[in-house]
Amino acid sequence: MKYTLLRSAAAALVFAATAAHAQVSVGHLADYSGPTADVGVPFGQGAADAMAWINAKGGVNNAKVNVDTVDYGYQVPRAVTQYKKWVGDKVAAILGWGTADTEALTGFVAQDQIPYISASYAAALTDPTGQSHKAKPAPYNFFYGPSYSDALRGMLTWAAQDWKAKGKSGQPKFVHMGANHPYPNAPKEAGEAIAKELGFEVLPPVQFALTPGDYTAQCLTLKNSGANYAYLGNTAGSNISVLKACKTVGVDVQFLGNVWGMDENAAKAAGDAASGVVFPLRTGVSWNGDAPGMKTALEISKISDAAGSAYRPVHYIAGVCTALYLKEAMDWAAKNGGVTGPNVKKGFYQKKNWVPAGMDGVCFPSTWTETDHRSTLTVNLYRMKVTGATDAPLNDLIKNGTIKLEKVTSIELPRKAEWQGW
């Protein structure tokens, strides 16, 4: 009894002393060396640069944010032990990465009340109270961007329009392709459901592994089935193998990618096999696009590229936006009771159609609420265009227009309650 009294007295003293200019700590899990490093490096770099830029401008709560970036190589046990370390260090929030670690930590972050902003966009993370009965309540999980399911719903809506616009008659055929893992499978049910609603014929899904390999067999089946629209659920690395194999075999299908499935580096690696792939962008424009917020992004890019000449893939900008949302949530928390986990969570609910300061036209207006963590239902679709050999460095290819991202359209999905959580 005496011991606990002493302990709480000591804690109160410490709290009082540090409350005024409390140092804020943020954990950052990144994959710079593991199987998803090809997309993990630009995203992690974007988030790290944005946090460094925030510190250069004064930080949060008049103190620099202590960002601990850890490369966990997509090994879940390492992510879990790192998380435990951070809980001991009393971090205010964690910038997470992939589906594996996000899933493993959902239970823990809810218990320890630490907001986890992931780069995994699984729809199962969008239900904080469990009201949809489709997913476990995940009150402390956030992400910026449309979920995989909503992105696929958006792409299929466009696909239906595209079919009509091309003047084709009959039922278009849709097939879901990906590995048998939570990340590619996340939007499968949602995709096939809306495809049926929109009048597609849904073909049996085709599987291919998350590692690059030879997928001629899958492409032969694809060709044989006569599919018109195929969703590629894996990351860029294995999607490239499928694109190349299907080009060799001569498959005529419109590929639909997920946010991690296609980017400028992948286009360079796949060459003209990547031309024509339609995929969603989490940001309003790609690098050097025409938007007022690109100025801020260029400033942030200079943190790790002083010359300012590097071309940043789409994932970089998404990482920047994610970090900036966290920063503004922490700012709100600082003014409303201190930068602690529960307050940062409330900080995410501060505004509707929220764009971080200085990022207009780049980051999408996002809204998080107590009962709905689907931040945006706008699906911004772009098409990758490759017109020639891709031997040169990426900078040159972009400058001379060999690799280009063309805007296709922007689909605004209705915020249906029955679509939450799956």
Binding site: P77, E103, A104, G107, K136, N180
Partner: protein, 357 residues
């Protein structure tokens, strides 16, 4: 092949009971009891991070104990152990959340179910030797993993399986400080049971199968029975370890049971010392602390003078991986019989000091 004798030569016993005692010396007995008592106080003193490391050592050591029975005591090889670990985890999660079995019972129950499935895999494996056995267990690993990803009624599919937290007499034991005791109890039980197994008739039969199976068969030991039994036992321990893992995480997904984890289990058993119960614990501590130590070293290096000089930056992660691989390779080059052997040599040195030559 290094043969481990159950009792070192040079000890004098007068009765059979004295010969098969678990702790040959009083010091050993007191050291074991004292360490368990000390561990009971750990949650009051250590931080959550260190407790999570200890919990991880706990459930991995239990599963590795099973593998040691299979590899060290019976002389088989298995690189599919992580699949049974996963089977235990998913079974316990399924029993506790879908069938509402209290967690206290779902852990042993899932271990039994995993053991039965281990027996099923053990039957054909008992006929195979050497490389064929290695590859058959590799196939078992991939087949079970495939089953996990396709059996959505069992594992949940895209939404990971949920395991209920541990509840006993109305108290919920979750979080590092409380769950630690659950793992500690199971760890002590498993170790005592295994050490006891090795001094029974069946334990000696397993060792006989490993050392010279022809003579064992001549003596009347049924080879198929004991080889299958050891697979079942290995699966049982893996099931307990997996179930403890499941109720700690409260969320079980496919990604934690790949071939990499099987390799970690194998490394634990080999580095700890084949056929040594104490060696399993030492091997687990080694394999869990190795990545942490490397992470600590790389955190130190980050931003330091060496980092600037070699322009490492992000490549520190690769250096860490290379270091882990190198440590394993070098350890095996210089001490192929494992940590237990080294520990025994150290004890022997001090026992005979200063005449240890």
């Amino acid at each position: 092949m290094a043969t481990q004798s159950l009792l070192p030569a040079g000890d004098f016993r007068t009765s059979y009971a004295a010969d098969t005692v678990i702790f040959p010396t009083a010091t050993g007995r007191w050291a074991a009891v004292a360490s368990v008592v000390l561990l009971c106080f750990a949650p009051l003193v250590l931080s959550q991070y260190w407790l999570s490391i200890l919990i991880q050592i706990g459930y991995l050591a239990i599963a590795a104990l099973g593998l040691n029975i299979l590899v060290g005591f019976t002389g088989q090889i298995s690189i599919g152990h992580a699949a049974f670990f996963g089977l235990g985890a998913f079974t316990s999660a399924y029993l506790s959340s879908k069938l509402s079995v209290p967690v206290f019972f779902s852990i042993p129950l899932s271990a039994l179910i995993t053991a039965m499935i281990g027996l099923v895999f053990g039957l054909p494996a008992a006929r195979l030797k050497g490389l064929y056995l290695v590859i058959a267990t590799l196939a078992a690993q991939y087949i079970l993993l495939d089953f996990f990803s396709r059996a959505e009624w069992f594992t949940g599919g895209t939404v990971p399986a949920i395991a209920e937290p541990f509840r006993i007499f109305g108290f919920t034991l979750r979080g590092d400080r409380q769950y630690f005791y659950v793992v500690l109890v199971y760890l002590v039980l498993s170790f005592v049971l295994t050490t006891n197994l090795m001094r029974t008739r069946d334990g000696r039969a397993l060792v006989a199968v490993r050392d010279h199976y022809l003579s064992a068969e001549i003596m009347g030991i049924n080879l198929t029975k004991y080889r299958t039994l050891s697979f079942g036992l290995a699966a049982f321990y893996a099931g307990i370890g997996g179930a403890l893992y499941a109720h700690y995480q409260e969320v079980v997904s496919n990604e934690g049971f790949t071939i990499d984890r099987s390799i970690v289990f194998l490394a634990i058993v080999i580095i700890g010392g084949l056929g040594s119960v104490m060696g399993t614990l030492m091997g687990t501590v080694f394999m869990v602390l190795l990545p942490e130590a490397m992470e600590w070293v790389s955190a130190l290096l980050r931003g330091s003078a060496i980092d600037q000089a070699l322009a490492l930056r992000n490549n520190i992660a690769f250096l860490r991986e290379i270091a882990i691989g190198l440590v394993i390779v070098l350890f095996l080059l210089f001490e192929p019989d494992g940590l237990a052997h080294r520990w025994r040599r150290i004890k022997a040195y001090w026992k005979l000091y200063p005449f240890s030559y």
